[in-house]
C-alpha cells in the first residue's frame, strides 16, 4: 500500500452542502463507508485533493415507506438493508444481495449508495501503484493499452456490485441531486456499458436514494453469486431472479446479472417465457439465454468461460427454486 495522499476532508451535514462542495472542487470524491474507495486511494488509483465524507448526513440514512414505494437512503448500511423488515418481506433478493457483499464487518459500514456506485474492477486495475507502473498502467487509469484486450480502445473492467441486480429485477428508481436540483430516474439509466465511465452521473451529482415500487412488493426473488472466497469476496458472476408464477405457468420473470459486464444488466427476452411452463427444457433454454448475454472478459483470475457458465447455472438454479 502507498502512503495516503495529502487530501482535505470535508464533513457536510446536509445534501445541499455536499453537492456544493463537490461542484467547487472538481476532483473531490464522495466517500461513505470507504470499504472500496479508501483501498483505491491507498493504491494510488484515486489521488483526490478533497474527500467529502457524507456519513454525517442523517437524511441519507433512512428506510421509509414513501407513497407508492419504499425509499432507501443511499447512506443506509448494508447491514441495515439486510435486516430491515420491509426489505426482507417484500424484496427478498435485495436483502440476500446485501448479505452477500464482502464480509460482515464491511456490511456494518458499507452503504447502499457505495455499492451501487462501486468502481469497476479488473485484474490489471485493482493493483498497487508499483504493480501498475511496472505494467505501463492500463487504459482505465494513466495508460493507453488495455491489457485485457490489447489493441482495443474499450475498457472491460467488470461492475462488481451485488446490490444493483437485485434492485434491477424490481425496476428500482434512484434519486440524484446535482447542481441543477433533484431528479428521479430508473436505476438502469445510472449505468452504461463502459468500464472507464460506467456511471452516467455528471460532475457534482450525488446519488441520494433508491426507490422500490410498491406494486412489486412481495414478488418472489433470489440473488446468488459465485466467488473465490466464500466468506468475503467480490462476485465472479452474480444473478438476481424475480419470478411470479400463475399456477404452472410464468406470470412475470426478470433476470439481472452482475460482474460479467462493465455494467449490471437486465437479461433481454425473458418476457418470452411469460405464459409458458418451466419444464426442464425451458430451464435449459433460460440458462443458455443468460450465458449468451454475459460477456465476461479476462478481468479476474478466474477464466471468462467459467464465469459465463456459472452465471447461466446460477440463473437456472434460482429460477427452478423460485418456480417451486
Amino acid at each position: 500500500m502507498e502512503y495516503m495522499p495529502d487530501f482535505k476532508l470535508h464533513r457536510p451535514d446536509n445534501i445541499e452542502d455536499a453537492v456544493k462542495l463537490r461542484a467547487e472542487e472538481p476532483d473531490a470524491l464522495f466517500v461513505a463507508g470507504g470499504t472500496d474507495m479508501i483501498v483505491n486511494v491507498r493504491r494510488g488509483i484515486e489521488q483526490p485533493k478533497h474527500l467529502i465524507d457524507i456519513t454525517a448526513i442523517q437524511e441519507l440514512k433512512s428506510i421509509l415507506p414513501d407513497g407508492d414505494g419504499l425509499h432507501i437512503g443511499a447512506g443506509v448500511s448494508l447491514k441495515e438493508l439486510q435486516s430491515n423488515k420491509d426489505v426482507l418481506r417484500d424484496y427478498p433478493a435485495v436483502a440476500e444481495a446485501a448479505r452477500a457483499v464482502a464480509g460482515p464487518t464491511h456490511q456494518e459500514y458499507g452503504t447502499v449508495g457505495g455499492n451501487l456506485c462501486l468502481d469497476t474492477r479488473c485484474l490489471f486495475y485493482n493493483q498497487s501503484e508499483w504493480w501498475r507502473q511496472s505494467n505501463d498502467y492500463c487504459l482505465k487509469k494513466r495508460g493507453d493499452t488495455c491489457h485485457v484486450a490489447p489493441g482495443g480502445k474499450r475498457c472491460f473492467a467488470a461492475f462488481s456490485g451485488d446490490v444493483a441486480p437485485s434492485l434491477l429485477v424490481y425496476g428500482a428508481e434512484i434519486d440524484v441531486v446535482g447542481p441543477n436540483g433533484r431528479r428521479r430516474m430508473p436505476l438502469t439509466d445510472l449505468y452504461r456499458n463502459d468500464g472507464m465511465g460506467h456511471l452516467t452521473l455528471e460532475a457534482g451529482d450525488m446519488l441520494t436514494a433508491v426507490r422500490l415500487p410498491k406494486a412489486l412488493a412481495g414478488s418472489p426473488s433470489r440473488y446468488e453469486k459465485a466467488r473465490v472466497r466464500g466468506s468475503i469476496d467480490f462476485p465472479l458472476a452474480g444473478a438476481a431472479v424475480r419470478l411470479e408464477m400463475d399456477g404452472k405457468t410464468v406470470k412475470d420473470f426478470v433476470v439481472a446479472l452482475t460482474a460479467v459486464n462493465p455494467y449490471p444488466q437486465i437479461v433481454k427476452r425473458t418476457d418470452t417465457y411469460v405464459g409458458r411452463e418451466l419444464t426442464e427444457a425451458a430451464l435449459d433454454e433460460i440458462r443458455e439465454l443468460v450465458r449468451k448475454q454475459a460477456k465476461p472478459m479476462r478481468t479476474t483470475t478466474v477464466a471468462p468461460w467459467y464465469r459465463r457458465r456459472v452465471v447461466g447455472a446460477l440463473a437456472r438454479r434460482l429460477t427452478e427454486e423460485l418456480a417451486g
Partner: protein
C-alpha cells in the same frame, strides 16, 4: 470541524476515556491508534480490509481501522483489544481464546477477538453457523478456525453462566 490546514479535531471516547486530538485529515484510524495513542494491540495485516486484523468496535460495531479515517470518528466511542479486560482480569472472550487455544501465531487474534466480542453483544447465543458468518471478515492463516469456534462458544457459555467455572 476542520480548518484549511488539513487537520480535524476528533473528540471521541477511546476505551472508556474521553480524548480530544488534532489529527491529519488523511490519517487512518489504525495509525492514530498505533502511532499517536500508542495502542499497538490493533494489528495491520493486509492493509486493505481483506483480513480483519485491524477490527475495532466503533459505537459497539466491528469496523476496519485500516479503512476508517481517524477524522470521521469524531463523536464516536472506540473500543480496542486493550479495553476488554477489567483490572487485569480477562474478558470472557479472551479467556475463551486462552482456554481453548484459539490463538496460534496470534497475529489475527486481536481482530478475531474484537469481531467475536461484537458478535456476542449482538447474539449472545450463537450457533456454529452464526460464528462462522459473524467472523467471515477475519482470516487466520494458521487456519485454526475450529479452536476459534470453540473459544467463542466458551465465552458464550461463560457469559450465560453455563460454564464449569460459573457452576463451581
Amino acid at each position: 470541524m476542520s480548518d484549511d490546514a488539513k487537520q480535524s479535531v476528533v473528540r471521541c471516547t477511546l476505551n472508556g476515556r474521553p480524548r480530544r486530538d488534532f489529527v491529519p485529515d488523511n490519517m487512518l484510524l489504525v495509525d492514530f491508534l498505533r502511532e499517536t495513542v500508542g495502542l499497538t494491540g490493533t494489528k495491520i495485516g493486509c492493509d486493505g480490509g481483506e483480513c480483519g486484523c485491524c477490527t475495532v468496535l466503533i459505537d459497539g460495531e466491528p469496523r476496519h481501522a485500516c479503512l476508517t479515517l481517524a477524522a470521521v470518528c469524531d463523536g464516536t466511542e472506540i473500543e480496542t483489544i486493550e479495553s476488554l479486560d477489567t483490572g487485569g482480569r480477562l474478558a470472557a472472550i479472551q479467556r475463551g481464546f486462552n482456554e481453548k487455544l484459539g490463538a496460534q501465531c496470534g497475529f489475527c487474534t486481536p481482530g478475531m477477538v474484537m469481531a467475536a466480542e461484537g458478535l456476542l453483544r449482538e447474539n449472545p447465543n450463537p450457533t456454529d453457523d452464526d460464528i462462522r458468518a459473524g467472523l467471515a471478515a477475519n482470516i487466520c492463516r494458521c487456519t485454526g478456525y475450529v479452536k476459534i469456534l470453540e473459544a467463542v462458544h466458551f465465552a458464550a457459555d461463560e457469559l450465560a453462566g453455563r460454564s464449569e467455572e460459573a457452576a463451581a
